[in-house]
């Protein structure tokens, strides 16, 4: 089933992998990509600027009730959880931290999965806690396409490892193969 969105979650050690993936994605992939990366609050970061320099997509930090559009690369703002509504608008949420994180990857995976069911692709990259594992499992149970970064390759393997421990049917792939599978399946 063709995905309607790609959601990439990551924490410590994920940034360079994200840049590699984005740099080598087939230009025909036109579905929205949402990046949930753990980041510090109350700091101005150059995250979006660096992303924009490395991708042909238009990079945009998510605003509440904004329509999710094709050809866009969205980032979760610091200090907010990101959710998806049935009409494909984003909602933000400042409720409790989940896994010590806001944005939490679990929250976004679960919310996108509730709306898109089998039509979404979740990717969990390097990180040193276990955020994302529960959400990715829910996504897999809803028949979404779920991928974790190869634990041997990830700079911090805790995160993909936690996902694998919770549910052993995710595709475990290194960066090159993540890029290949996206290029083969997502347009």
């Amino acid at each position: 089933m063709k995905s309607q969105a790609i959601i990439i979650g990551g924490s410590a050690g994920a940034f360079n992998t994200i840049l590699s993936i984005l740099g080598q994605l087939d230009k025909r992939i036109n579905i929205p990509i949402v990046i949930v990366l753990h980041r510090l609050k109350n700091t101005t970061s150059s995250f979006e600027t660096i992303l924009q320099r490395n991708t042909h997509y238009t990079v945009k930090e998510i605003e509440d009730k904004e329509q999710m559009r094709n050809g866009m690369l969205y980032t979760a703002p610091a200090d907010y959880h990101v959710l998806l509504e049935e009409d494909y608008t984003f909602s933000l949420d400042v409720s409790e931290l989940v896994n010590f994180s806001r944005p939490s990857i679990d929250v976004t995976f679960e919310s996108f999965s509730a709306v898109l069911k089998e039509k979404c692709c979740g990717i969990l990259l390097s990180g040193s806690n276990h955020d994302g594992a529960k959400g990715l499992k829910i996504m897999a149970e809803n028949k979404g396409n779920t991928i974790i970064q190869d634990c041997n390759e990830a700079e911090f393997a805790n995160m993909p490892n936690a996902a694998k421990t919770l549910y052993d049917q995710h595709k475990e792939l290194n960066t090159t193969n993540i890029i290949n599978i996206l290029n083969n399946e997502c347009y």
């Binding site: 930090e61 509440d64 907010y80 959880h81 049935e86 909602s91 933000l92 949420d93 400042v94 679960e110």
Partner: protein
């Protein structure tokens, strides 16, 4: 856990049986709150949840308190409070009396933060703050003004970042676990129940603070609330919304000008 379809049915039942209308709230956020509630209370599916809500009034009350998000902090987004002092306070100073509406005040952190800064800028004496929330539990907690000490280190950091001039601790009476805001900061605040969905204008206010409240509504209800704020403001009155919220999708967008684009502070111009 429940599906989006079950959520619709549940909200319909709640509206019919209890007269609480959440139908224009953000579905995605509701679903998340309800899942959290079910997790905490070890409920497995929609049938369990419905049964408890209908048959156990205490559970229902708890449900209402839990699904409304009441997470806040003192001086959240220091850059916002800094800008408010620099760009809005000088205007407010010109009024003989100032009314401020703190809409969706949760447990009071935002309202007391504002009040502390009013005090430090010598505006406290002529200001009256109307702090409202849909949740009576939140209003009660706000009135008490007692907070867990755990996060005070961060609050202090925020406070200094937004230009605080004193020691934050001096504004509280503390024991080893809790801190209570000094009673002085309660005297000019009127806490009351107000439902942005159902209730109307109650007072003209020169500044309305409603940050990270509208995100829990759908666009339709956001628009209604923003129209209400518009009607409650005099010309040149100020509206502050959350940093990632937007007026752009609302019918009153043209009636405001941006005072601070980053911090989402607006002024009514027509």
């Amino acid at each position: 856990m429940i599906t989006l379809k079950e959520l619709d049915e549940l909200l319909f039942t709640i509206k019919k049986q209890f007269d609480y209308d959440f139908s224009d709230y953000s579905k995605a956020s509701m679903l998340r709150r309800i899942h959290r509630f079910m997790d905490i209370h070890a409920m497995k599916n929609a049938v369990d949840l419905k049964f408890e809500l209908i048959n156990n009034p205490a559970v229902f009350q708890n449900f209402i308190n839990e699904i409304v998000v009441n997470v806040s902090e003192f001086f959240r987004d220091p850059s916002f409070f800094k800008s408010l002092q620099q760009k809005v306070f000088p205007y407010l100073e010109s009024y003989p009396k100032i009314n401020i509406w703190s809409a969706g005040c949760s447990f009071g952190e935002e309202t007391y933060s504002l009040n502390i800064l009013l005090k430090e800028n010598n505006l406290y004496a002529k200001t009256r703050i109307y702090a409202t929330d849909i949740s009576s539990n939140a209003i009660e907690r706000s009135r008490k003004g007692i907070y867990d000490n755990t996060n005070f280190k961060e609050y202090t950091k925020n406070y200094y970042e937004c230009g605080g001039k004193e020691s934050l601790n001096d504004y509280f009476v503390s024991d080893p676990r809790h801190s209570m805001i000094h009673s002085e900061f309660k005297q000019n605040i009127l806490f009351s129940n107000h439902n942005l969905v159902a209730d109307g204008v109650f007072k003209e206010c020169q500044l309305i603070l409603c940050r990270n409240v509208l995100i829990y509504f759908n666009s339709n209800l956001q628009n209604k609330a923003l129209e209400l704020f518009y009607q409650s403001l005099p010309i040149h009155g100020f509206l502050a919304i959350g940093k990632k919220e937007s007026l752009r999708f609302s019918s009153v967008y043209e009636n405001f000008k941006e005072i601070d684009r980053e911090e989402k502070i607006y002024q009514k111009i027509k």
